[in-house]
C-alpha cells in the first residue's frame, strides 16, 4: 500500500514535470505569461510529491517491510532507527529518489525567488530543472525502482516486481541483509547528502546559463544571480569531499584519507570545474572577459555532476561488462550526450554575442593569473578523467584490464597542485586590469621574505626532503600573503576610521565578504596542504606479529600488546578487540583499542583503528590478524602520520571561509532604497 503510494507519487511527479516543461516552452515561445506561471506552479508541486515518495521509502525502511526488495537489501532487524532512516541513500534506488527529492526542493526554491528583472529567464530555468528532475524520475520509475516487492512464484522462485506476477504469493524475508557496515559511520551518513546537495545545487547556475544562452541575454546577469547558488553548491561539495576523506581515514583501515578511487574522483571532478568557475566568473564580472569559457565551465560542471551521480553508486566503471549489464548505463550516457550537444549548440549560436568587450592588458594582471589557475584546474581534471576512463578504453581495445592507481594520479597532479599554491600566493596581490612586475614585486617582497624564514626554520629543524621543503615554502608563502592582505586592509581601515584593530578587521571582512571569505578559504587550503605534506611525504609504517607482553617499535614509538578479547555483540557483530599500550621515548602515553568487527549478516569485516591524535602527529594502529588462542600473538600494523590533523583543521577553516563568502547579504533592493532615502533626507536637510 505505502509502496504503491510512493511509486504513484513518482509517476505523478514525472507527469507534472512533463507538463511543466511543455507549458514553460509554450509560454516562452508564444509570450503567454499564464502558461509560464502554470509551469512555475508545476515546479512548486514537484517538491511535495517527491516528498511523499521519499517519506514512503523511509516509512517502509523503519517498519522493516522486507517484502519491499530495497528494504530487505539495505536494512535489518538489528539496525538502529537512525540508520534505517538514512538507509534511504544506502543503495542505488533510494539514492536516486533522494537525488530527485533534493532536485525538486532546489527547483522549487529557485522559482520562489523574485523574478521581476529576469522574467525572460524563468521559463528556461524551469525547463532545465524539470528536465533534469524528469531524467532522474524516469530512472527511478523504469530502471531502479525502490518500491518493487518480492514474490514467490508457483515454481518456488523469488522474483522482484512492482505488480504481483500471476500465480505468485507475496514473499517477506524474516530479516534484511543490512546496510553495508562500511556505510554505518557518522561520516558516511552525512557525506552522501552533502555531495548530492552540492551536485544538485550546481544544476541551478547551469539552468541560468542555458536560459541566458537561449534568451540571448548574455551579459553577466546570469552570473550575478547564481553567484550565491554556486557558492552554496561548492560549499556542500567541499564538505562532502572532506567528510568522505575523514570517513576513509576512520573506517577503511589503510591509514589514508584519499585513495584516488574512481568513486572519489567522480565527486572531485565537478568540484574542480566548479572551483575554476568560481574564479573565472570574477574575471567576467570585473572585466567582461572569458564569457565563452564560463559557459563551457558550467556546462562541464553539469555534465560531471550527472556523471558523478552515475559513477558513485553504480560501480559500472569496474568493467565493460558491468557497464553493458547495468540497465541505466547507456541511458545515463545518452542523457549526458544529449544535454552536452544541446548546450554546446546553444553556446555556438551565441558565440559572437559573447565576445569580450575589453582586452587583456597585462599578463600579470589578476585576470591573466586566473586564466593560469583555470589551466591548472583543467589539467588536474584531464588527469582525473583520463585515469578513470582509461581502464575501460584499454579493455575495449585490447581486452586487457589495467589498474590506474594512486601513483599515476599523485605524480601527475602533485606538480599541478604546487602550481596552484604558487598562484594562490601571487594572484591576490595582482591588480585587476593592469599589474606590472614592479607593482607586483613591491607587494610581494615582504611575504616572500617571511616565507623564506619559515623554510629556514624547517631546514634547521632537520628536514631535507626537497618536495617537502617546496611544499612548506609554498604554504608559508600563501599564508604570509593572505595574512598580510588582512593586516594591510585592517590597518588602512583603522587609519581612516580610528577603529581598533580587531574591529577594523571584523568590518573589513564584513564589507567585502566574498573577497575575505575567499582568503579564509585560501588559509584553509594552506592548512590542508601542510597536513597532506605531512602524511604523504613523512608517513612511516611497520607491521609485526607479537605475543602478549611483547613490543613493536616505529620511530620513537613503542607499542606493547596487553590483551585481546573476541566476543559477539547484540547488533550482530563478532568483535576482536586488542588492548595495546603506547609509549614514546619510554614515556607511557596510554592505551589504544584497535579492533576488527565482523558483520554476520553481510559477512563483511571492518577494521577500526586505534588512534592517538595530536597536532604533531597521529599514531594509528590496526589489528591485522590474530591467533585463535590469543596468547600466541597478534599482528599489528602501525602508521605514523605526521601533521595529519592540520588537514582536518584546514577543512574546518575552508568551510568557515566558504560560509563567510556565501552568507546572504541584506537584500540589495532594500539596501538601495535605504541608501536612496538617506540621500534624499540629506538633500532635503
Amino acid at each position: 500500500m505505502i509502496a504503491n503510494l510512493g511509486y504513484g507519487a513518482l509517476v505523478i511527479t514525472l507527469l507534472v514535470s512533463v507538463f511543466g516543461t511543455g507549458a514553460a516552452y509554450y509560454g516562452a515561445r508564444n509570450n503567454k505569461h499564464a502558461w509560464v506561471a502554470s509551469a512555475r506552479n508545476a515546479t512548486l508541486l514537484t517538491f511535495p510529491l517527491v516528498t511523499i515518495s521519499a517519506l514512503s521509502i523511509i516509512y517502509l525502511l523503519v517498519t522493516n517491510d522486507y517484502q519491499v526488495d530495497y528494504v530487505a537489501s539495505v536494512t535489518s532487524n538489528s539496525m538502529p532507527f537512525y540508520l534505517k532512516v538514512t538507509a534511504l541513500w544506502g543503495g542505488q534506488p533510494g539514492s536516486l529518489v533522494f537525488w530527485s527529492w533534493l532536485m525538486s526542493a532546489f527547483a522549487s526554491a529557485v522559482t520562489l525567488r523574485k523574478w521581476e528583472r529576469d522574467q525572460e529567464f524563468l521559463p528556461w530555468v524551469v525547463i532545465v530543472t524539470l528536465v533534469t528532475l524528469g531524467f532522474f524520475l524516469i530512472l527511478s520509475i523504469f530502471f531502479e525502482n525502490p518500491f518493487t516487492r518480492l514474490w514467490q512464484t508457483a515454481g518456488g522462485q523469488i522474483t522482484s516486481a512492482m505488480l504481483q506476477p500471476s500465480g505468485s504469493i507475496p514473499y517477506t524475508p524474516l530479516d534484511g541483509s543490512g546496510l553495508n557496515p562500511l556505510l554505518r559511520h557518522p561520516g558516511m551518513i552525512i557525506h552522501p547528502p552533502m555531495l548530492y546537495l552540492g551536485f544538485v545545487s550546481f544544476v541551478i547556475p547551469y539552468a541560468f546559463a542555458i536560459a541566458a544562452l537561449i534568451t540571448g541575454r548574455t551579459d553577466d546577469r546570469w552570473i550575478r544571480i547564481t553567484r550565491r547558488w554556486t557558492l552554496v553548491a561548492w560549499l556542500f561539495l567541499s564538505l562532502g569531499l572532506i567528510l568522505g576523506g575523514r570517513w576513509a581515514y576512520d573506517v577503511l583501515g589503510w591509514g589514508g584519507y584519499w585513495g584516488w578511487d574512481p568513486v572519489e574522483i567522480a565527486a572531485f571532478m565537478p568540484w574542480l570545474t566548479g572551483t575554476a568557475f568560481l574564479h573565472s566568473v570574477m574575471t567576467q564580472e570585473k572585466r567582461g572577459l572569458l564569457k565563452h569559457w564560463n559557459m563551457i565551465l558550467i556546462i562541464l560542471t553539469y555534465e560531471l555532476v550527472i556523471f558523478g551521480t552515475f559513477l558513485t553508486r553504480s560501480g559500472v566503471l569496474s568493467s565493460v561488462h558491468a557497464f553493458a549489464q547495468s540497465a541505466i548505463g547507456p541511458f545515463f550516457f545518452a542523457f549526458m550526450g544529449l544535454t552536452f550537444i544541446v548546450s554546446l549548440s546553444l553556446l555556438l549560436k551565441r558565440w559572437n554575442t559573447l565576445k569580450a568587450q575589453t582586452q587583456m592588458n597585462s599578463l600579470l594582471s589578476r585576470e591573466a593569473l586566473f586564466l593560469l589557475n583555470n589551466l591548472l584546474f583543467m589539467g588536474i581534471l584531464v588527469v582525473c578523467f583520463w585515469g578513470v576512463i582509461f581502464p575501460l578504453i584499454s579493455e575495449i581495445f585490447t581486452g586487457q584490464k589495467v589498474t590506474v592507481g594512486p601513483p599515476f594520479y599523485e605524480r601527475a597532479t602533485a606538480p599541478l597542485f604546487a602550481g596552484l599554491l604558487l598562484l594562490m600566493g601571487v594572484a591576490p596581490l595582482a591588480a585587476w586590469r593592469y599589474s606590472s612586475a614592479k607593482t607586483l614585486g613591491r607587494a610581494i617582497w615582504k611575504p616572500f621574505i617571511a616565507s623564506l624564514l619559515v623554510v629556514a626554520l624547517v631546514l634547521i629543524g632537520g628536514i631535507r626532503n626537497w618536495a617537502a621543503l617546496l611544499g612548506f615554502w609554498l604554504s608559508a608563502f600563501v599564508a604570509a600573503v593572505t595574512l598580510y592582505e588582512f593586516w594591510r586592509g585592517a590597518m588602512a581601515r583603522r587609519r581612516r576610521s580610528g577603529e581598533s584593530f580587531p574591529l577594523a578587521l571584523w568590518h573589513l571582512a564584513g564589507r567585502n565578504r566574498r573577497r575575505y571569505g575567499g582568503y579564509i578559504i585560501h588559509l584553509g587550503v594552506v592548512l590542508m596542504a601542510i597536513g597532506i605534506i605531512g602524511i604523504e611525504i613523512f608517513q612511516t609504517e611497520t607491521q609485526g606479529t607479537i605475543a602478549r607482553g611483547e613490543q613493536l617499535s616505529l620511530g620513537d614509538y613503542t607499542v606493547s600488546f596487553d590483551s585481546l578479547a573476541v566476543f559477539d555483540t547484540a547488533d550482530g557483530r563478532n568483535v576482536a578487540r586488542a588492548v595495546v599500550s603506547v609509549e614514546r621515548d619510554g614515556q607511557y602515553l596510554g592505551e589504544l583499542y584497535p579492533r576488527r568487527d565482523y558483520y554476520y549478516e553481510s559477512q563483511q569485516p571492518m577494521t577500526i583503528p586505534g588512534v592517538r591524535s595530536t597536532w604533531e602527529d597521529d599514531f594509528y594502529i590496526l589489528l591485522v590478524d590474530w591467533q585463535p588462542i590469543s596468547s600466541a600473538g597478534a599482528t599489528f600494523k602501525i602508521y605514523h602520520n605526521p601533521l595529519v590533523n592540520w588537514l582536518w583543521l584546514g577543512g574546518f577553516v575552508f568551510i568557515f571561509g566558504t560560509l563567510v563568502a556565501a552568507w546572504p547579504d541584506k537584500d540589495p533592493e532594500k539596501r538601495r532604497v535605504t541608501a536612496r532615502s538617506a540621500s534624499h533626507a540629506t538633500a532635503k536637510a
Partner: protein, 172 residues
C-alpha cells in the same frame, strides 16, 4: 602596451607551472635489505603495496583485509624467502593475473596513452592560453595608449537607474 618585463615574468610563471608538471614527487621507499632468511612483514608489505588483487577494486594488497589477499601476501612471503627479487615477484603476478595487478599500467602498447595524454592536454592548454592572450592583446595594441583605465560597467548603478526609471513610469 605590455611591459617587456612583465611578459618575461609571466612566461617564467608558465614555465614554472610546466616545470612542476615535469618533475615527480619522489616516493619515500623504505630502504630495507632483503635477506634470504625469513622475510619480515614490512618486506612483504613493501612488495604488496605495489600490487592489486583482481577481486578487491582499488585496494592495494598490503591493506586489503580479505582472505584472498591475505593468501597472496603469504605467497609473496614464500617467494621472498626463496630469494626472489621484487621485480621477479611482480612479474610472476602479472604473468598469472594480467597487467591489472600493477598499480599503474606498464608503459607499453596502448598503455602509453595513459601517460601521454595528460601532458599533451596541458601543453595544448598552454598553447590555447597563449593564443587567446595574443588575440586579446592585439586590439589593445591597435588602440595604443592602453594606460588610461576604461570606464567600468557598474551593474549596481545600472540596476538603480532601471529601478528609478520603472518608478517614474509607474508614477506617470
Amino acid at each position: 602596451m605590455f611591459k617587456i618585463r612583465s611578459l618575461h615574468l609571466f612566461i617564467l610563471m608558465v614555465l614554472a607551472a610546466g616545470l612542476f608538471a615535469a618533475v615527480e614527487v619522489t616516493e619515500i621507499v623504505q630502504a630495507q635489505e632483503q635477506g634470504p632468511q625469513a622475510p619480515t612483514d614490512d618486506q612483504v608489505n613493501a612488495v604488496a603495496k605495489q600490487l592489486y588483487c583482481p577481486v578487491c577494486e582499488n585496494i592495494p594488497l598490503d591493506v586489503c583485509p580479505t582472505q584472498a589477499c591475505s593468501q597472496w601476501r603469504e605467497l609473496i612471503r614464500e617467494k621472498l624467502a626463496a630469494g626472489w627479487t621484487e621485480d621477479e615477484i611482480k612479474n610472476y603476478f602479472v604473468a598469472q593475473y594480467g597487467d591489472r595487478v600493477l598499480a599503474t599500467p606498464p608503459a607499453s602498447g596502448l598503455n602509453w596513452l595513459v601517460y601521454i595524454i595528460p601532458p599533451l592536454a596541458i601543453i595544448g592548454g598552454i598553447y590555447i592560453l597563449y593564443r587567446a592572450l595574443q588575440a586579446w592583446k592585439r586590439p589593445a595594441e591597435d588602440q595604443g595608449g592602453e594606460e588610461q583605465p576604461q570606464p567600468e560597467f557598474d551593474e549596481d548603478y545600472v540596476a538603480r537607474i532601471e529601478d528609478e526609471l520603472r518608478q517614474r513610469q509607474q508614477k506617470s
